[in-house]
């Protein structure tokens, strides 16, 4: 699928994607016939009722899982049938994850948590890594907490650390699964503000949320129901992009 107006290649492209789960002899058709393209610089949200397949979709987008059938293209390359290690490399370089439950590693300090994905790369020196950690910590305004452990931080702060970890490696796309789901409204707001800011700086963000207010802050809302995309609308006009 090509962007009609821009002639730009989609960053991520899903074609006729299906995902089934087989458990205890029960088949769950978690996703059926998903067709979707995400472009560089987009800020989009995926909404829908609980259990409709949002997280599954995000997992597939993030190469955390493999589709049962269908095509997955990343930056124009077919990524449906590459091996585990290659997928790990792509996750590490091109994708930043933010989870509902933060998923910080409790034995590591804030700085070490942010550095962790960078240590999986072979092309970075220790100094380069530390510079990257510092700049992302500054971006989320937590530089003074670098040597704290996650358990010493509030939920909002923990999620901001997770955001810092997601952006530390300068990924092509940030995937967030209900990033505010475990937070009170004040902390949720601060995380959302952070995402808005990242978007302003040009990041591509794909966020799962069931909060219409937060969804409304994005530029494109994809609604999923029972494993299907039932609507896909761009609210805010994006310069040079028309549907």
């Amino acid at each position: 699928m090509k962007d009609v107006s821009n002639n730009k290649t989609a960053l991520v492209e899903l074609k006729d994607l299906n995902k089934m789960f087989f458990t205890d002899e029960v088949e769950t058709n978690a996703l059926s016939n998903i067709n979707l393209a995400i472009y560089e610089g987009e800020y989009l949200s995926i909404t829908g009722p609980s259990g409709c397949g949002k997280s599954t979709l995000l997992s597939l987008l993030g190469l955390l899982d493999t589709p049962t059938s269908g095509l997955y293209k990343l930056a124009g390359h077919n990524a449906s049938n590459i091996n585990q290690d290659e997928r790990a490399r792509i996750r590490n370089k091109e994708i930043g994850f933010i989870f509902q439950s933060f998923n910080l590693i409790s034995d590591l300090t804030v700085a070490e948590n942010i550095e962790l994905p960078l240590t999986y790369r072979t092309d970075l020196t220790k100094n380069q890594r530390q510079d990257m950690v510092l700049s992302s910590l500054e971006k989320v305004d937590l530089a003074h907490r670098a040597n704290h452990y996650p358990s010493q931080l509030s939920g909002g702060q923990q999620q901001r650390v997770a955001v810092a970890r997601a952006i530390g490696g300068k990924p092509a796309i940030i995937l967030a699964d209900e990033p505010t789901g475990n937070l009170d409204s004040k902390n949720a707001e601060s995380v959302m503000a952070l995402l808005d800011e990242l978007h302003q700086d040009g990041a591509t963000i794909c966020m799962v949320t069931h909060d219409p207010v937060f969804a409304a802050r994005t530029q494109r809302i994809i609604e999923v129901f029972d494993g299907r995309v039932v609507s896909d609308e761009r609210i805010t006009e994006m310069p040079a992009i028309a549907v």
Partner: protein, 831 residues
């Protein structure tokens, strides 16, 4: 009511996971079964005092156990009687000495048969608290010099040797060819003091000497029964005082008794009055320690398996706590699972132990089949005490294994589990507990496997060892002359001549047979026996007698070496010249010659047997013979250095023979028995067996013990493997989300595995360090009574750690590789 719900819930959980349930029940059954078995074995063989009918413990009162002689020794009967007269704490005491006798039938001329005898003081049955079922026991008059010769026989001798003859009481038989009246039959199974089949009263002169005496003949053993409510340590204290008083003004040549280290006379539990127990005591103790470690391992394993299950259900537990379940109820809920598993396992353990006991009893029968010297209490059974121990062990195990998961459920930040699925502080604590568990498992299995391997390997190499003799086509037997026909007469020349002429006549007669190629008589054949004495080299005497080098003294006939495959290396063989020479000549073996006389000038030098109280005459070395080893090579008491004396100088009424034959063994045996019969039908040969068998004989018990160790080692291996796997799987369950997160962030699969292997590596390091140092200590304890060959050390100290390292790495790799086979999204979903 809630009780029922909990029980049903626990049962459902167990049934839902049959592999887990079966594994844990099996582990419990093995751990408890082994404990029950070992308890019964050691209790029966060592720890439970022998009481018989009297109720209070029976003890042995003897001269010092001479570790270099490998046997306990008698003490001067004069002192023993003093103790009996002066003690306040003994109920009764009787003197005895063990030996063998030849018993004829009821008709003159019926064939003699050898039986174990107890030559005793009249009150031996009073000490035992057991009286004859037929006829009478002894009375004090039976010791009198003029008294009629009498004998009491066992039920077994009556039934089998005398075919249950109804008129047995009062009948006359021949004991060592001396007519003797049978006055009593003891009840079935009675073999007191240990292996006796017949009882003969000692002479008054020996049983109540009127003066101190240093002769071997006047050294007796004592068996005594403590008074009600008197403990052995109490009596030992009293004994010390009595001895101090009585050993005061001894004549010069006996003064050493007062300064004998450890006391001239000792008292100890009667069951320890057994060479097999004394020699292998440290092995029995090691076995006990090993089994206790295995029990510990079992508890850790079960606790850990249950812990793994709580970890899997931690969210459910957290919800229950959030819903306000009382802590007591929660703990009880967790206990139910332990109760099911431990009770079922304990039930199976009983049958495992029963099976082990059954096998052990038949092994004991096998071991003592030839020499018939199985002490009557060496018959293991699972008694009420054992059942009690099992019940207590089950309860303790329920507490230990139930506590671990309950503690896990009640500690830490369960809110965190509910709120966001992170394990937080709780995960950390459990993680540390897991690490400690793994380290303990590695250390314990390392200890058990190392000790078992080293012991086993040692015993196998001892069996294959070269004892310096050729055992092929050789039969051996003990030949005994009846003292009635061959009286000792204080070693008078005529008596000596009569005895010696029998031995040489037998040798000549046999060697004329076409299927016999050589006959030798020894007091103990090379490869058997053990024990050394101190040997003083003329001109090089050590300051103290026991600082002199030590060697074994062997007794041998002329022209003996080729019959056992040994040969002269230098000097000359014993011959008729040695019969007439003043002083004694001696032949020593090659390594003794090399060690004592490094300059190679052994021939013509003089040595003598040195001891605390007397020195033998000097003996001149006239020959050097090839090496042989007396005793199993794994025993510290075995002798590499042997000096041989000519048999002819002393009247030996019992010798062991080796017969080199060709053709079938059975033919050789009948030729041998026929030759004896032709010369003197009253002479008896027994313990007839191949030379190989004879060497193996003393190792059969060690082998049996080592087989138990092997089982322990295999069980430990099974426990350690399953335990380490469970711990690894457990810690991976705990870190599932962390692993998934790392993978989401781009960690490659081998990096994930490396992470776990690295952690396992650290634990291996600690576990092995701990295990190896503990093993070394344990082995150093064992080496006090056992020689461990260097190959066995190598296998144990290098082979086992490598084996454990491999096992731990595999046990870690398996669950880790299972995790990475799944998609990372799955790990993330579990909150």
């Amino acid at each position: 009511m809630t009780f029922w719900i909990d029980i049903k819930y626990a049962a459902r959980l167990l049934l839902k996971n049959p592999v887990f349930t079966a594994t844990s029940v099996l582990i419990v059954a093995i751990g408890l079964g082994l404990t029950l078995y070992t308890y019964s074995l050691l209790n029966q063989l060592i720890f439970k005092p022998l009481t018989l009918n009297g109720g209070t413990p029976i003890i042995a009162i003897e001269g010092q156990f001479r570790s270099n002689a490998g046997v306990g020794t008698g003490a001067d009967a004069y002192h023993l009687n003093q103790i009996s007269a002066e003690t306040e704490l003994l109920h009764s005491m009787s003197l005895y000495i063990t030996g063998t006798t030849l018993i004829g039938g009821l008709d003159i001329g019926a064939a003699n048969k050898k039986f174990n005898a107890s030559f005793s003081q009249w009150n031996i049955f009073e000490v035992a608290g057991v009286q004859p079922i037929l006829g009478r026991g002894f009375n004090p008059q039976d010791h009198d010099p003029g008294a009629e010769k009498v004998v009491v026989i066992s039920n077994d001798v009556w039934q089998n040797h005398f075919s249950g003859n109804k008129d047995i009481i009062g009948a006359t038989t021949r004991v060592d060819t001396v007519p003797t009246r049978i006055i009593g039959v003891m009840p079935d199974g009675f073999a007191f003091p240990a292996v006796a089949q017949i009882w003969v009263p000692l002479s008054a002169e020996r049983v109540s000497p009127t003066q101190l005496n240093d002769d071997f003949e006047y050294r007796l053993l004592a068996v005594a029964r403590l008074k009600q409510d008197v403990s052995l340590p109490q009596f030992q204290q009293e004994l010390k005082v009595i001895l101090q008083r009585n050993l005061l003004d001894l004549p010069q040549e006996m003064a050493w008794r007062a300064s004998s280290p450890g006391g001239y006379i000792r008292a100890f539990p009667f069951k320890l009055n057994n060479d097999a127990i004394t020699v292998h005591y440290s092995m029995f103790i090691a076995m006990m320690i090993v089994v206790m470690l295995i029990l510990l391992l079992t508890c850790i394993n079960i606790g850990n398996l249950l812990l793994a299950r709580v970890n899997e259900r931690i969210k459910e537990v957290a919800i229950r706590i959030a819903l306000g379940i009382p802590r007591k109820r929660l703990v009880l809920q967790m206990l139910w699972e332990s109760i099911f598993i431990c009770c079922l396992g304990g039930f199976l353990a009983f049958f495992f132990a029963k099976w082990g006991v059954h096998i052990t009893n038949s092994v004991f029968d096998q071991i003592f089949a030839i020499n018939g010297e199985k002490p009557f209490w060496w018959q293991i059974s699972l008694d009420m005490n054992a059942i009690m121990v099992l019940l207590v062990a089950i309860v303790l195990m329920i507490l230990v294994t139930g506590f671990i998961p309950a503690w896990r459920a009640l500690s830490g930040d369960l809110n965190g589990v509910l709120r966001d699925g992170t394990r937080g502080a709780l995960g950390k604590k459990a993680g540390r507990a897991n690490k400690i568990l793994v380290i303990a498992e590695i250390a314990l299995s390392c200890v058990v496997l190392m000790v078992a391997t080293i012991l086993l390997s040692t015993s196998y190499s001892a069996q294959r060892a070269d004892y310096g003799v050729n055992t092929q086509n050789r039969i051996t037997a003990t030949v005994r002359l009846p003292s009635g026909t061959y009286p000792w007469n204080d070693g008078a020349p005529e008596a000596r001549k009569k005895i010696n002429s029998f031995w040489y006549q037998l040798k000549d007669e046999l060697e004329q047979q076409p299927n016999i190629h050589g006959v030798a008589f020894f007091n103990l054949l090379p490869g058997t026996g053990n024990g050394t004495v101190h040997c003083e080299i003329e001109g090089k005497a050590a300051e103290l007698y026991n600082e002199n080098p030590s060697c074994n003294h062997g007794i041998v006939t002329r022209d003996a070496w080729s019959a056992v495959g040994m040969k002269m290396i230098a000097g000359r063989e014993f011959d008729l010249r040695d019969m007439v020479s003043e002083g004694e000549n001696i032949i020593i073996n090659e390594s003794m010659a090399k060690h004592y006389f490094p300059n190679g000038d052994a021939l013509g030098q003089r040595i003598r047997h040195a001891s605390a109280n007397f020195n033998r005459d000097w003996q001149t070395i006239i020959g050097i013979v090839s090496d042989s080893i007396h005793g199993s090579v794994m025993q510290t008491t075995s002798a590499q250095y042997t000096a041989y004396l000519l048999m002819d100088w002393d009247p030996w009424f019992r010798l062991v023979t080796a017969v080199h034959y060709s053709g079938p063994q059975s033919l050789a045996e009948s030729t041998f028995l026929e030759a004896i019969n032709n010369i003197d039908a009253d002479v008896t040969a027994y313990h007839i067996q191949s030379y190989d068998n004879l060497i193996k004989q003393p190792m059969m018990l060690v082998n049996a013990i080592n087989t138990i160790f092997l089982w322990c080692g295999l069980i430990a291996l099974f426990l350690a493997a399953s335990g380490i796997y469970a711990v690894a799987a457990n810690s991976i369950t705990l870190r599932k989300q962390e692993i998934a997160t790392r993978r989401a962030l781009g960690s490659r699969n081998n990096q994930v595995i490396k992470l776990f292997l690295k952690q396992a590596g650290m634990q291996l390091l600690f576990g092995l360090a701990l295990g190896i140092s503990l093993s070394l200590w344990l082995i150093s304890q064992i080496t006090q009574s056992m020689i461990i060959d260097s190959n066995s050390y190598l296998i144990g100290l290098i082979g086992i750690p490598i084996f454990i390292i491999m096992m731990v790495l595999i046990a870690t790799y398996l669950p880790a590789s299972k995790v990475i086979k799944k998609e990372p999204s799955e790990g993330l979903r579990e909150g």
